[in-house]
Amino acid sequence: MHDVLTVTNLRKLYGDTIAVDAISFSVQLGEIVGLVGPNGAGKTTTINTILGVLQPTSGTILIDGVDLSKHRSRALQCTNFEAVYAPLPGNLTVVQNLRIFAMLYNVKNISTRIEELLQQFELDRFRNTKCGVLSSGEQTRVSLAKAMLNSPKLLLLDEPTASLDPAIAQEIRAKLRDFSSAGSGGVLWTSHNMHEVAEVCDRVLFLSHGKILLEGNPKRLPREHGKNSLEELFLTVAREPLTLEGH
């Protein structure tokens, strides 16, 4: 297994404010890594730097071995993302959006790939519907289909199931689990749903005040720190991060 993402000493300052404080981590092919932490911990800042839409103050990001700062276009070619705060343009239909982003990601056999994804994410009946009139759950599925267009080596998901009902969320988790277990890509997943993180992720990184406080298997990590569940551990990270520093 090789690393599809290697982040080394990533640091982002906004003036005097430290948003991300020299964090280092990696994501391997076929692995789902959860990036969790309270609001303002630096999760979205980290995701945005990996997406190339935010320049880090220092540090390096390698995507499938390609240095993002030196070969941005090549690095982003094998990346894709879904974020609840980045819906696709509502004035284009599902197929139009997918076609445009397939072209932007230089996807081959675009029509075939779009048909596969329409079936996979049960979007066929919405193919000619404008994205703006879809429910938030349907829009999330379209965004996930967009995120899968180029069969990315690195998939970044920022709260992908936040607006989905439990049944759809379960299906989406299964699809993403299938994606990673097929061994064609790795996933960096942020979520506030600790049950989801425990169910889906192979490894979890707890981020607080821009630092990675804890890292480990989401099923074993709570017990290692004297907690009964990941949720309880999360509450400790959110309320008393100092008690965990140095672990």
Partner: protein, 267 residues
């Protein structure tokens, strides 16, 4: 550069136009109104002035060319604004798309939108008011090209300004052509302007077009020097505007503004 990624930007515009009369209508409506209005004004002026002077090519021709310049600029900015309005920057700029591909896509989008406006204007001006651009000869083409270059440069500069200042800056963009027109000598020679305005006019490429067109109408030889100066300036401004857009893009990526674009500032 990837032709496929550039084509994606153009295709997006085609999709948007295909399903939206509100976007198609302005392509020709305002220029048509301008041509009709100025067509009748020139006809009225012709009715009580010396028969030796024809206002149609001088005024109506100037309106047509200025509207073409404006449409080219707006072709670029409108394509850019679609990303502003749909809050699409994060999706677009997280792809492998290069800035050069994005700008080329905006320029290609502008070519077909401004061409529609130009055709409508030519048909109306010729059909109703007898303005024949064929009379200018082949030298009309380099003048049109010069205006096209200048419109593209201004459109990219305006888009970069909105990218830097936020969505509200859109309202600063629309009046730019109107602000430039007094200095560009669209309807009068630069020589009647006060010296300080003439200096500004001399650094604006469109002023060389309108001076040149008036020279041709007066029956004098085609002013090749004006054409060369205007084209050189337009190419310089095009290069500067692309550089400016690139600088602004790197600034908004460095500061994080592009990911929080609707906030307009990070303070």
């Amino acid at each position: 550069m990837s032709a496929k990624r550039t084509a994606a930007i153009v295709l997006r515009q085609l999709y948007l136009f295909r399903g939206s009369p509100a976007r198609i209508f302005p392509l020709f409506a305002w220029v048509a109104i301008d041509i009709v209005l100025w067509g009748f004004i020139t006809r009225y002026l012709n009715s009580f002035t010396s028969s030796r002077y024809n206002f149609v090519p001088a005024l109506l021709g100037a309106v047509l060319l200025w509207d073409f310049f404006t449409r080219v600029m707006q072709g670029v900015t409108m394509a850019f604004f679609e990303d502003v309005w749909s809050r699409n920057f994060l999706n677009v700029f997280a792809t492998p798309l290069l800035i050069s591909e994005y700008l080329t896509g905006l320029i290609l989008s502008s070519i077909w939108t401004s061409t529609i406006g130009l055709i409508v204007m030519l048909v109306l001006a010729q059909g109703f008011f007898g303005l024949s651009f064929l009379g200018y000869g082949l030298f009309l083409l380099p003048f049109l090209f010069l205006l096209f270059l200048c419109g593209i440069a201004l459109g990219i500069f305006a888009s970069a300004s909105v990218l830097r200042m936020g969505p509200a800056a859109e309202w600063l963009v629309w009046p730019i052509p109107a602000m430039l027109s007094p200095f560009a000598g669209v309807f009068y020679p630069l020589s009647i302007l006060p010296p300080w305005m003439q200096w500004i006019g001399r650094v604006l490429p469109p002023s060389y077009v309108f001076e040149g067109i008036r020279t041709i109408i007066a029956g004098r030889p085609v002013p090749r020097f004006d054409l060369l100066m205007g084209t050189s300036l337009a190419l310089l401004y095009l290069a500067l505007s692309c550089w400016f857009f690139s600088r602004v893009y790197h600034h908004v990526v460095r500061t994080g503004l592009i990911a929080r674009y609707s906030a307009e500032t990070l303070s």
